[in-house]
Amino acid sequence: MCETCGCGQGSIPVKITRPGEPEANEHHHEPHSHGHHHDHDHSHDHDHPHDHDHSHDHDHSHDHDHSRQRLIRVEEDILSKNNLLASRNSGYFEAKGVVALNLMSSPGSGKTTLLELTIKALEGKRPVAVIEGDQQTLNDAERIDQAGAPVVQVNTGNGCHLDAEMIRLAVDKLELQERSVLFIENVGNLVCPSLFELGEKHRVVIISVTEGEDKPLKYPTMFEHADTCIINKTDLLPYVDFDTELVRKYALSVNPHLRIMELSAKTGDGMEPWIQWILDLKP
């Protein structure tokens, strides 16, 4: 089904994307059509007033034969429920003075390593918390826990992205400190997560120099929806054919406003601008 992340068949965990609600829409649309059809009923009744009791019976069978068709206008955005929940998350973060960052990339780009180093660099400067998204295992959460930050792991099962409801549930388990930075490490996938707002302030896409330079062209939606791009693993540049200027050019052609930083989460080279950017973030 999903050729990108290889996730399988219909899965139960995805069902928590099911929120309830939009009563407003139903109320809004019902009167139109109901009114219209009631009028039809009336005209039927008018035809038969002489028949008394009989006419009732006739009406019944008539209706059954012709179960009437009716068009209901819905005009509802399919993602509106997720977006509503995302706005709620975002309001909660704002009230607490928390800045949430949604980190997205292919699997293996070094998100977790970057987070480990970032947590250490921010120690004593700004409180942090982490939500880890993976299909399975607690591996990443354990690494973050070792690095010294409060963390919650969301295992999406077969799901290939985090959604706003998962974030709400995860946040319930985190005691977020005022003015902290909440890193949300999305499921490794360059496609699906880009469609689901979580309530984040910034979207950070991470690519590494072991990937192709044309990633931004191949997965434009992700780069278009992000505002910051990290080019990671620059320590490997001498060993790989990777043209940093070319990837910058491609990324900016998809999204001219993209903020691009190059660094190595392994050696720590180039970390300062990234750390400074985080320290300067305002809720």
């Binding site: 019902e30 009437r68 209901i72 005009e75 399919i78 959604d163």
Partner: protein
């Protein structure tokens, strides 16, 4: 795979609307899906079948109207049909693009059958 979450969300919304209208059968669901909405159409069609299984929508026809993209240049406000998500403006050649159509993900309407 996000197509499955989208499909489940569509099925949920439609069932709610159908119940509110006391419909006993939904014959048609009309969807507007933009070509640049990030949806893989084949995957969505497949996922709708999975999501509708064992619900009142099992026999419903899901009609997908593919909405062509229309872009507005943020610099000169020229309207055009982009050939890629990241095209340059054909008029002033500046990069950057604002899609005003083509990212739709909307349930437009349902055709239901009612007895009374």
């Amino acid at each position: 795979m996000h197509e499955l979450s989208i499909a489940i969300s569509i099925v949920d919304t439609v069932i709610k609307q159908a119940e509110a209208a006391s419909a006993n059968h939904v014959s048609e669901v009309n969807l507007d899906i933009g070509l640049y909405s990030g949806i893989e159409f084949q995957s969505l069609e497949f996922s709708l079948g999975v999501a509708a299984k064992d619900t009142i929508l099992e026999k419903t026809a899901f009609r997908i109207n593919r909405v062509e993209p229309v872009a507005e240049c943020p610099s000169c406000h020229h309207l055009y049909t982009p050939d890629r998500v990241f095209s340059h403006c054909p008029e002033c050649n500046k990069p950057g693009i604002r899609l005003i159509r083509g990212t739709e993900l909307q349930i437009k309407s349902l055709l239901v059958e009612q007895n009374e």
